[in-house]
C-alpha cells in the first residue's frame, strides 16, 4: 500500500479504476487479512474523540443475505459483518483463524478437520455449534447457485461433536481454504437457515447485526455492533452504515460532503482543505486480453504460439496505463497480481512493446497479412476496446466488435463464440487464480484448451492443499503461461481511496476482501 503524502493530491479520472470497481462488484475477488476478525488481533484503541460510527459506500445493491446467495464482491462488506467465517485471510493472503481456532488436513488432503472456538453465539442467542456449519455447507452442496463451483469437490460434511467439523473431499482442493475465508465459510444458524425471510433478515454470529428498521433496501444498510461478540474489542465502530451509490460522481460528492467517511475516488479532485487523504492501493483489478481460442477452433492462427506472442509484443502497456488509466496501475504481462508472492516482476519484461518484432513473428507464422477476429465489447472493456483494437490492427489483425448487453457478459465467454476477449479479474489465491483460467473446464477456458505440461503443473497446484507450498508451484504456472502467451495481460489497476480525518483504511492487494475490519480509527 502506498500512501500519498499530500492529502490534497489532485486525482484524475481513471477509467480503469471504474473497471477495477467493476471487478470488485462482479468477481470473486479478493483475499484479505481481516486481522480484526482473526483470533487475538485488535484494532488500535479508540480515543475519547475517535469516531464511533462509520459510513461507507458500495456501488451495487447487495444480493440476498442467505448463505447460498452470498457474493464475494462488495456485498461482502455487509454480510461479512453479520456472519462469522471459519477462517479469514491474513495480511499475506494466507488463512488465519477466525471462528475456527485451528484446522488440519489429512495426509492425502481428502479430509479437512476444523475446530470451532468456544463461546460464540448467534444474534438470536443460539450457541454456534458444528451442526450449524454442517447445515450451511449441506445446503450449499445441494443447491445450484453462485457458490456451487466452490463446493464441487466436497463429498460430505460431518459434525461429530459441537466443536468439530469434518469435511470430506472427492479430490484434494487447493482453493478450498481460500474459499472458506470468503462466502462459503460463513456460518448460518441451523434453525433459521431455511426461513423464508433469510435473504433479508439474516441471523449470524458476526460482530454486527442488520438493523431492519434503519435499513432501506437498495439505499442503505445499517449494522449495529454486538457487544456480546467474542472479538468485540476489535471493532471500534458502534454503527456502520453501508450506502449504495452507483454513480461515481455521486460517490465522490458524498465523500467530499462528508456523507461517507471512506470511499473510492474515481474522478474529479479532492479539495486541499477537505481533510481527505488519498490512499492508493495497487492490484485492484487485472485487465486481460484473453486469447481463448488457443487451439485455433475458430481462428486457426491463434493456435500458433508466435501469433499469440506477436499480440503480446503489439500491446504498448506503458502507454495504455498512462493514457487510459491516467497512470493508476501497473503494466503487466502476467495475470499474477502485483505485491503478491506469486508475482514475478521480471516476467513483465518478456514482451516489451516491439511492433517490428510482432510483425516478424506474424510473418514467420505465415500471417504477414494478418487475419480477422470478432471480439465481444463488454461493459467493463469499452474503454480499452479502441486501444486494443488499434494495437491488433497494427499487426494486421482486424477486429469486429460485438456489443454485449450487460446481462450477457458471462455468456460472452461461456459461449465459446469469441476467440479473444478483454476480461477483468479480481485478486484470488494462487490455486484459484490459475485454476479459474487455465484448467480444462475452467469458466475462462471455454474452448477447453489443454497442454500436457501445463496440465501437470496445474494438477500439482490444485492438489497441494498447503497454501504456502502452492506459491512456488503457482510461480511455475505463471512463467509457463507467460512464455506460451496463453493470454495477453495489459494492466493491473490501482484503487484510490479517500479517507476522512479520524478514519483509517488498512486494505492492501492481498487484504482487500470487503469487510468492516478493513476500516479503523486513525492512530
Amino acid at each position: 500500500m502506498r500512501i500519498n503524502s499530500s492529502p490534497a493530491r489532485r486525482v484524475r479520472a481513471g477509467v480503469v479504476a471504474v473497471a477495477a470497481a467493476a471487478v470488485l462488484v462482479t468477481s470473486a475477488c479478493s483475499g484479505a487479512s481481516d486481522d480484526a476478525e482473526a483470533n487475538g488481533s485488535t484494532e488500535p484503541e479508540a480515543t475519547s474523540d475517535a469516531p464511533t460510527t462509520l459510513t461507507v459506500a458500495v456501488s451495487r445493491q447487495p444480493q440476498g443475505f442467505d448463505t447460498i446467495n452470498l457474493s464475494n464482491g462488495t456485498d461482502a462488506l455487509v454480510w461479512s459483518a453479520i456472519y462469522d467465517r471459519l477462517i479469514v485471510p491474513g495480511d499475506d493472503g494466507l488463512p488465519v483463524p477466525a471462528a475456527a481456532e485451528s484446522w488440519e488436513y489429512s495426509e492425502d488432503g481428502l479430509v479437512l478437520t476444523l475446530h470451532l472456538r468456544d463461546g460464540m453465539t448467534f444474534s438470536n442467542g443460539d450457541p454456534v455449534v458444528a451442526a450449524d456449519y454442517k447445515a450451511t455447507l449441506d445446503l450449499l452442496i445441494s443447491t445450484a447457485g453462485p457458490l456451487s463451483g466452490e463446493v464441487g469437490s466436497v463429498s460430505s460434511v460431518e459434525a461429530p461433536d459441537d466443536s468439530t467439523i469434518v469435511i470430506n473431499f472427492s479430490q484434494p482442493d487447493a482453493s478450498f481454504l481460500d474459499s472458506l475465508s470468503k462466502a462459503i465459510g460463513a456460518i448460518a444458524n441451523d434453525t433459521t437457515i431455511a426461513n423464508e425471510d433469510a435473504p433479508t433478515n439474516p441471523v449470524g454470529s458476526g460482530a454486527y447485526t442488520l438493523d431492519p428498521d434503519a435499513t432501506v433496501a437498495g439505499s442503505q444498510y445499517v449494522l449495529n455492533k454486538r457487544e456480546d461478540y467474542w472479538n468485540a474489542d476489535a471493532y471500534p465502530f458502534e454503527t456502520v452504515t453501508v450506502k449504495v451509490i452507483a454513480d461515481s460522481t455521486a460517490l465522490e460528492n458524498a465523500l467530499k460532503s462528508g456523507e461517507i467517511n471512506v470511499g473510492d475516488v474515481i474522478s474529479g479532485t479532492l479539495d486541499e482543505s477537505s481533510g481527505i487523504t488519498a490512499t492508493e492501493v495497487p492490484g485492484a483489478g487485472l485487465q486481460n486480453l484473453k486469447i481463448l481460442d488457443r487451439e485455433g477452433t475458430i481462428v486457426p492462427a491463434l493456435a500458433d504460439v508466435r501469433v499469440r506472442q506477436a499480440i503480446n509484443y503489439a500491446i504498448n502497456r506503458d502507454a495504455i496505463v498512462e493514457g487510459v488509466s491516467q497512470g493508476r496501475g501497473e503494466p503487466v504481462a502476467q495475470i499474477a497480481f502485483p505485491d503478491t508472492s506469486v508475482y514475478v516482476e521480471e516476467l513483465n519484461d518478456t514482451y516489451p512493446y516491439d511492433l517490428e518484432k510482432a510483425k516478424e513473428l506474424m510473418a514467420e507464422a505465415g500471417y504477414a497479412d494478418g487475419f480477422a477476429v470478432t471480439m465481444p465489447s463488454i461493459i467493463y472493456s469499452q474503454t480499452l476496446d479502441p486501444v486494443v483494437g488499434q494495437a491488433l490492427a497494427d499487426i494486421g489483425i482486424t477486429v469486429t466488435w460485438d456489443s454485449i448487453p450487460a446481462q450477457n457478459t458471462g455468456q460472452a465467454i461461456l459461449s465459446a463464440q469469441y476467440p479473444m476477449a478483454i476480461w477483468p479479474d479480481g485478486y484470488a489465491g494462487p490455486a484459484r487464480l490459475f485454476g479459474n483460467q487455465y484448467t480444462e473446464n475452467a469458466f475462462q477456458n471455454p474452448f477447453h484448451t489443454t497442454d500436457d505440461e501445463l496440465t501437470a503443473l496445474l494438477n500439482d497446484l490444485a492438489t497441494t492443499v498447503d497454501p504456502e507450498a502452492q506459491i512456488p508451484l503457482a510461480k511455475e504456472v505463471n512463467a509457463w503461461v507467460v512464455e506460451n502467451a496463453w493470454d495477453a495481460p495489459i494492466l493491473n489497476s490501482s484503487r484510490l481511496i479517500g479517507v476522512h480525518e479520524g478514519y483509517a483504511y488498512t486494505g492492501t492487494t492481498t487484504n482487500s476482501f470487503p469487510s468492516v475490519a478493513l476500516y479503523g480509527v486513525a492512530e
Partner: protein, 314 residues
C-alpha cells in the same frame, strides 16, 4: 363517466396482458444468459439447467406466463433473482421515492408554468419575449447540469443540503424534505418550460377569440377574463402536456436518482434491466403499465371536467 372509466380500465387491462406477455416472451430469450451471469464461475450447462428447473423456466413460455399471471392476481410477483426480495414488497418503496421527487416537481412546474405562460400570453411584447427567454433557458439547460451545479454549491460548499441519499418521510420529515430539495429543483425546470410554452400558445389563441372580446366589451376585468374564462378553456391542451410531462419526468428521474443515489423506481428499473432480473422486470411492467393507463385516464377525466365540450364520455 363510470361506464367510460370502466371501459378504459378494461382496455388498460387487456393492454397490460398483451404488453406483459410480449415482455415475458422477449425476456425468455435471455434466461440462460442471466442465469449464467448469476452463477458466475459456477455456471456450467448442468447448473444452468438446474436453476432453470428450480424457477420453472424449463416449461413452455406460455405456460410460464399464465403461471406468472395467476400469481399477479394473488399478489405474488415472485422474488428478485438477485436480492431475493419479494417483488411485490420491493417496488412500492422505490415507486414512492420517485413519486416523492416527481409529484412535487410537477406541482411546482405546473404552478410556475401557468403563471409564466399566462403572463407571456396576456402581456405580450417585451414581457412575452422575456418569458420566452426563460422558457428557452429551461428547455436548453440539461437538468443534470443543474443538479451538479446545485450539489456543488448547496451540498458540498455550503453544506446546507445532502449531496446524496434519501431519507424516508416517516423517519425524519425534515430530512426527507432536505433529501428531495435539489432533485426536485433539477427536475421541475425542464417540465415547467414545457408546460409554460403550451399554456402560452393556447392562451394566445383563446385571448383572440370572440367571447373574450365580448367579455371585455361588457366591462369584465382583464384578470377575470384571463384567469376565469380564457385559462379554463386553454387548460385542455395544457393538461395533455401535463400528463406527458409527468411520464417524461418519471423517465428523467432515472438520471436524477443516479446522481443523488436515490433508491427510486428509475434506478431500480435500470439496474434490474442491466442484470436481467426477470421477476423484477415483470413486476416493473405491471406497475409501469398500470401507472400509464391510470395517468391517461385521469388526464381524460380532468380534461372533460374542465371543458364539457371535450367530454368523450357520456
Amino acid at each position: 363517466m363510470l361506464l367510460y372509466s370502466a371501459r378504459r380500465l378494461l382496455a388498460g387491462f387487456v393492454l397490460f396482458v398483451i404488453v406483459a406477455f410480449i415482455t415475458y416472451w422477449l425476456l425468455s430469450f435471455s434466461f440462460d444468459s442471466v442465469i449464467a451471469a448469476r452463477l458466475g464461475a459456477s455456471a456450467t450447462p448442468e447448473t444452468i439447467a438446474e436453476v432453470r428447473a428450480d424457477y420453472g423456466l424449463d416449461r413452455p413460455v406460455v405456460v410460464q406466463y399464465v403461471d406468472w399471471l395467476a400469481g399477479v392476481f394473488q399478489g405474488d410477483l415472485g422474488r428478485s433473482f438477485y436480492t431475493q426480495e419479494p417483488v411485490i414488497d420491493a417496488i412500492p418503496p422505490r415507486l414512492f421515492v420517485t413519486l416523492s421527487i416527481v409529484v412535487p416537481a410537477l406541482i411546482i412546474a405546473t404552478i410556475i408554468a401557468v403563471f409564466l405562460g399566462t403572463f407571456a400570453a396576456s402581456r405580450g411584447g417585451g414581457a412575452d419575449k422575456a418569458a420566452q427567454g426563460v422558457m428557452l433557458f429551461g428547455y436548453l439547460v440539461p437538468n443534470l447540469l443543474i443538479a451538479i451545479l446545485l450539489t456543488v454549491v448547496l451540498a458540498i460548499n455550503l453544506g446546507w443540503l445532502p449531496a446524496t441519499g434519501y431519507v424516508r418521510f416517516g423517519d425524519d420529515p425534515a430530512g426527507w424534505l432536505k433529501s428531495i430539495t435539489i432533485p426536485v429543483i433539477a427536475l421541475f425546470i425542464g417540465g415547467a418550460a414545457n408546460i409554460a410554452n403550451q399554456v402560452r400558445g393556447t392562451m394566445i389563441d383563446e385571448l383572440r377569440k370572440d367571447y373574450v372580446r365580448t367579455l371585455r366589451t361588457r366591462g369584465v376585468s382583464a384578470r377575470t377574463v384571463v384567469y376565469k374564462h380564457a385559462l379554463r378553456n386553454a387548460a385542455g391542451p395544457a393538461l395533455t402536456v401535463f400528463g406527458l410531462t409527468f411520464i417524461n419526468m418519471f423517465g428523467g428521474a432515472l438520471i436524477i436518482e443516479q446522481v443523488f443515489a436515490l433508491p427510486g423506481f428509475g434506478t431500480f428499473s435500470f439496474n434490474s434491466a442491466l442484470q436481467g432480473d426477470f421477476p423484477v422486470l415483470m413486476g416493473l411492467t405491471v406497475f409501469g403499465v398500470g401507472m400509464t393507463v391510470t395517468i391517461n385516464l385521469l388526464t381524460d377525466l380532468a380534461n372533460g371536467w374542465l371543458n364539457p365540450k371535450a367530454r368523450i364520455y357520456a
